[in-house]
């Protein structure tokens, strides 16, 4: 496997001015500024091979975008070393840009007023794509998605789904070695999500493009990634196969219940009855996290329905947020 991205112990610090409250505070800030340092990325090392799809996960503000910006060469790491395709991105931003494609969630990089095909032609010139390569890529696109209705539509008139699709196609157009996708399925409906996942998967397979995917949607991760990297507060929490993670968390299900009576009162009683499970409540649901290796959800349910009047119930797989929270609390690696 050829290594395409190598990150050695990178750190990124930002100097953020302290803001004081109130009018007096603002006036104070005007004359004397004090700063504190934020470690947006704190000692991260990753090695990524050509053709991998890596899910890059973490809560908001974890440092995902900062890492991507550093890999894209728009941000210089405070310390540490990054090599993308053998060169240092920050020192060769334009050369590096030739080898990468970027889709930043809801910020379309296409020319707003132009039909998609005109945007493609401009990109063809900017990236100096040969006619043969361009035609081949367009033929590939035609075989994967129905792009004809999109080609002659100005980006401004597209739906969010069509725009995201267009942005992804534009990012792959110059056959980059790496594509960064930042929350590509955010705000899309189920069928569009599926379409976009299939598209990414196929492009990765046909072109052997490395894909770095940041997302909050576990569905994206399940459909696309074999490997995931999780960071939080700038620190790396996890870097391994998704199978490994699933084995660990696969046994967990969340049983959500609505019962008669005050939910928080009832939750306390349930917690006392089920020492194996962790129970919490909000205004709508009582959530019971069940480890099926120890106790089946069905048996929990039958036990509870004897003594509680259950009005409604839902069964949920453990969410990515829960996984991350658990990793953060417990430490799996």
């Amino acid at each position: 496997m050829d290594e395409i991205i190598r990150i050695n112990h990178i750190t990124k610090e930002f100097r953020v001015p302290d803001r004081h409250e109130g009018l007096r505070g603002s006036i104070r800030d005007l004359f004397s500024r004090s700063y504190h340092t934020v470690h947006a990325v704190d000692d991260i090392s990753i090695s990524i091979a050509q053709g991998e799809i890596v899910g890059y996960l973490g809560p908001n503000g974890a440092g995902k975008s900062t890492t991507i910006k550093m890999m894209a060469g728009v941000l210089e790491p405070t310390s540490g070393e990054i090599l993308v395709n053998g060169c240092v991105p920050y020192k060769n931003r334009t050369r590096n840009a030739q080898n990468i494609g970027v889709v930043f969630g809801q910020r379309s990089q296409l020319w707003w007023a132009l039909p998609l095909v005109e945007s493609f032609r401009l990109l063809k010139d900017i990236y100096q794509i040969t006619d043969a390569q361009y035609d081949e890529m367009l033929a590939l696109y035609r075989s994967l998605v129905d792009i004809e209705p999109l080609l002659h539509k100005p980006v401004r008139q597209m739906s969010l789904g069509q725009r995201t699709l267009s942005d992804i196609l534009a990012a792959f157009l110059h056959d980059p070695k790496i594509v960064f996708l930042d929350e590509p399925t955010i705000g899309l409906d189920v069928s569009m999500k599926a379409k976009i996942r299939t598209l990414i998967h196929e492009l990765n397979r046909r072109k052997n493009t490395t894909v770095i995917l940041t997302t909050h949607d576990m569905g994206d991760v399940d459909a696309l990634c074999r490997r995931i990297v999780i960071i939080d507060k700038g620190k790396m929490l996890y870097d391994n196969d998704i199978e490994h993670l699933k084995k660990f968390f696969g046994a967990y299900r969340t049983l959500k219940l609505r019962v008669k009576g005050d939910l928080s009162e009832q939750a306390k009683r349930i917690a006392a009855e089920l020492p194996e499970c962790s129970v919490s409540a909000n205004e709508n649901w009582i959530s019971v996290l069940v480890n099926e290796d120890k106790q089946k959800v069905i048996s929990v349910l039958s036990q509870l329905q004897k003594s509680y009047d259950i009005r409604d119930m839902q069964l949920e797989e453990i969410s990515s947020e829960d996984v991350i929270k658990r990793i953060y609390e417990g430490g799996v690696v």
């Binding site: 930002f14 210089e76 494609g101 990089q109 020319w111 005109e118 010139d125």
Partner: protein
């Protein structure tokens, strides 16, 4: 990958320009109204100029036609900025919302790519108006039309355009540091109204300010004098193209520095 030289950028620019104009034409009403608006703005500017000269036959020894010449000159030197750097007006919004990041991923010069996105066709009306004014004043003044005079005009006009472009670029770049930078840009744009007058009509303090601090005197007066009164020009007039080029380069570096700073503030 081929080297990206001047011709590469020129080609890209004209392609984007063609596409942009094409899409603007598709909003016909918008296009016509804004063009008509620009013409009226120019006419209004000219009328107020004319009324003033109905009452004063000359200002500080400058005749009506000489003033008209400088007026036309200033219109022309502002045109490239108006047409090509109009996206600077949106910079503040783009930076504030974080959308500016989307320009940073292309394998071409960031400033070029950002500015190429918008071409303000309204500026072309101003161009026509400026040429008309200049030619009229030129003829009335009885200035010689020699190849040398025309060449001189073009060179010094280019230098003057750089000064305006630099002023606007530097003012726009202030948004990378200041949140309410609209006023900076607006101020820079308002100052250009003073550019069309001979600097000698101002008090020494403003003369100094307009020459060395906010160098709007280089938009029309200093370079214009090269053609208007070649016998009494100062060294600053001779240097104006160089000053323009250097000033624009510095403004460009300032803009690029601001852009790199923008990214490092995180989002």
């Amino acid at each position: 990958m081929k080297r990206k030289g001047f011709r590469f950028y020129l080609r890209i620019y004209f392609k984007i320009l063609a596409q942009d104009l094409k899409s603007k034409m598709s909003y016909r009403a918008d296009f016509i109204i804004s063009t008509v608006g620009m013409i009226f703005t120019n006419i209004a500017g000219f009328v107020s100029f004319w009324i003033m000269f109905r009452n004063f036959p000359s200002i500080s020894g400058y005749s009506y036609h000489e003033m008209l010449f400088l007026y036309g000159f200033s219109l022309l030197s502002v045109t490239p900025t108006q047409c090509m750097l109009d996206n600077n007006w949106n910079l503040r919004q783009q930076v504030y919302s974080g959308d500016f990041i989307k320009y940073c991923f292309r394998p071409i010069n960031l400033f070029f790519y950002y500015e190429s996105e918008i071409f303000d066709a309204k500026g072309l009306g101003q161009l026509a108006f400026g040429i008309g004014t200049l030619v009229y004043a030129w003829a009335k003044l009885g200035l010689a039309v020699t190849p040398l005079a025309v060449l001189k005009l073009l060179v010094f006009l280019a230098g003057a355009s750089f000064v305006m472009a630099a002023l606007q670029t530097a003012a726009a770049a202030s948004c990378f540091w200041i949140e309410n930078s609209f006023y900076v840009l607006d101020l820079a744009f308002r100052f250009r109204d003073y550019a069309k007058y001979p600097i000698t009509i101002f008090s020494p303090v403003f003369r100094f300010i307009f020459t060395y601090i906010i160098p709007i005197a280089f938009i029309a007066y200093y370079p214009g004098m090269m053609v208007l009164r070649p016998s009494e020009v100062s060294l600053l007039s001779w240097l104006s193209p160089l000053i323009g080029a250097v000033f624009f380069y510095l403004a460009y570096r300032f803009w690029m520095y601001g852009a790199s700073k923008f990214n490092s503030t995180g989002s």
